[in-house]
Symmetry: C2
Subunit: 254 residues, 2 copies
Amino acid sequence: MRARASIIVVGSEILKGITLDTNSNWLAKKLTGIGFEVARILAVPDEAGEIEWGLKALLECSDVVVATGGLGFTEDDITSQAIARALGLGYEFNNEAYKLIEQRHREDAVKYVKAAYMPSGAKPIPNNVGVSPGFIVEWRGKKVIALPGVPVEMKEMFERYVEPLLQSLTGRISMRAIVVTNHMVEAEVDELVRGLRRMEDVYVKTHAEKPVKITIVVYGGDVKSACAILERVIGDVSRRLNVKSVEKPLECSG
Amino acid sequence: MRARASIIVVGSEILKGITLDTNSNWLAKKLTGIGFEVARILAVPDEAGEIEWGLKALLECSDVVVATGGLGFTEDDITSQAIARALGLGYEFNNEAYKLIEQRHREDAVKYVKAAYMPSGAKPIPNNVGVSPGFIVEWRGKKVIALPGVPVEMKEMFERYVEPLLQSLTGRISMRAIVVTNHMVEAEVDELVRGLRRMEDVYVKTHAEKPVKITIVVYGGDVKSACAILERVIGDVSRRLNVKSVEKPLECSG
């Protein structure tokens, strides 16, 4: 069974079109890369009921839910509290989280005390860029991971603390290649690659560009096996289509 | 009661992080501009079950759901069929839709016949840029609007056919202003603007930049009343904070 992940983006500024959400795209690429099937991406406003509904709806179909946004110390930051309520956990001052804030913001730490409140049993994730720590909390064998919405903070925390942890969960990775064809009509290319869409652990997407491009994503247990699958699919594509160029991962040279 | 809208983005390429979804941001801004409260934005893969689940989940809390993506003629385009199933409607050849395709793609129209299949009772929306028509279908007093995922097609169709229709539904518009302050600490600004967050039909968002920026969004029955509310809120902000500059809509000069 492939491990499934979902992403919940919290912030009214996203729903009002004020801010373009780029976090979910970055996270989706990362999660796919370490072997997850990303099932749903949901954006909700800074409203407790919507965050709670959303988290529950994503947990229904996911082993891991990553939340971003609404973790700060301003009044509209309510993600931690909403997560606690959705999971039926307490919401309390986390001593370890406050120590992390104190280490970076000595005299100002008290201003940010709100960012140290988390669901009971949450394990804080250090924020080495901004103020608010993230956290990870286990729930019925699943993991909920909360990260700030500021992209530079979210990315640093994910890469340093979350990615290594999740990689060990999936036991697989994915790799992608881009094939540029000499075909000008997507309908024709779609017809020719249909058979490849039936293969397990292989995703083939035709893009409506001229000439038509194809993205291939494959999953494998490790770099070697993923590369072998990717090469096989690229071979299949090349036999069916008139291929102009192939862009593949450096790890799969040869 | 404010009219509520949601957006569902269909496409496995979004969930795998291959494509950055910019459609939902554009639509959220448009829908907010014509007076909607955007409640949820959801991205799901090209899987019938997920599209059906998603549409139902958004209809629960919305008067209008806008869907983008998966409307084409390739094998993985299954949005129309999934919408039909979610709403309990038939899925059938739409003569008016096929005529729209024929008008633009004479001899090739037969290749695109799949794009002419729609839920029973759907009203086609012409696509003057690409191949696939969109559609609008009424369901229990709500509207489901399906548009292609290619941004240039989606935008043209929304602005020309959908926006005028929806504008008449909400009977209101929204306007936004951006206030740049001379304050360097978001926690301080948050403290000072808290009272404004209690006002109905006013959204105030502080941004963690240095100096701190504030976005204000207000709703009103028409341009004049929205401008008046915006001016009042800008006045309130200016009394509370040290304001450096204000960027407001051209319509509200004075």
